[in-house]
Subunit: 122 residues, 2 copies
DNA sequence: GATGGCTTGTTACCGATGGTAAGTGTAAGG
DNA sequence: CCTTACACTTACCATCGGTAACAAGCCATC
């Protein structure tokens, strides 16, 4: 009953690969994880996604908006207020990206140990 | 009973973020997905992960080896034979990355529609 | 009325990364 | 002795990620 995937990311010319390239990205992952809790304004995203620059956050959000993963709510106020929210499509992305983030947190000790061992061998 | 994560990828200085940066990458995702089926030699990986260059594949595999996700088996033969295999740690990465690939394949039609709608608005 | 602050960006710039194309080394086969 | 096979290297260029400074518009303060 689940439709078979009509696309194959392993094929270079398959358009689904452009989609994979966008979501397989650390900034995308962190922004989507942050927004899955609640809609947020630009400034709050900058503090939640620690270390992201205004430029990169703007670009990431524009790309996610273009791909239908995020909606942008602009309020005509002074100072300006812009809120970002996951779409229904964006919410389907939460579980996979959250899993990636959790993997990084849970397995980093192993990764670190492997790195030290590797570097010692070289 | 599950240990609480001692690391937080949302913190810029947290070392787990370097780990997230590595796995949240399209080439990493495709190589791990390819290797999850079976161990493979370099040349077969190049054809399975369609479109990857020798240089990028070499770098990706070196990084994955350093992080303990892949093991490299070198056979002293002519012409050379090198096989790559997921470690136990690498196999724990399969499910999250496979989920990402499936998302890209299953939702690309939505992404494409959103893109066309966005571009028409601008 | 000039100054500075608030917020959401934009611009200029530069170093790092991703990507292509060609070359390297070794030994068997013709 | 020239080609082929394989797993890389190297040189080189384009694109991306990242920093720092500035723009716009109104308010409050000095």
């Amino acid at each position: 009953m689940p439709q078979l995937p009509a696309f194959d990311v392993m094929t270079a010319t398959c358009p689904s690969r452009t989609s994979l390239a966008r979501i397989a990205n650390k900034w995308t992952a962190m922004v989507v994880i942050a927004l899955s809790a609640d809609r947020m304004r630009f400034r709050d995203l900058r503090t939640t996604v620690d270390g992201i620059s205004a430029k990169v956050l703007t670009e990431t959000l524009r790309d996610l908006e273009r791909d239908g993963i995020v909606i942008r709510h602009v309020y005509a106020e002074i100072p300006p207020r812009v809120e970002y929210e996951l779409t229904a499509l964006g919410r389907t992305l939460h579980a996979p990206l959250q899993a990636l983030g959790l993997w990084a947190e849970e397995h980093f000790a192993d990764v670190l140990a492997a790195r030290e061992s590797y570097d010692a061998r070289q």
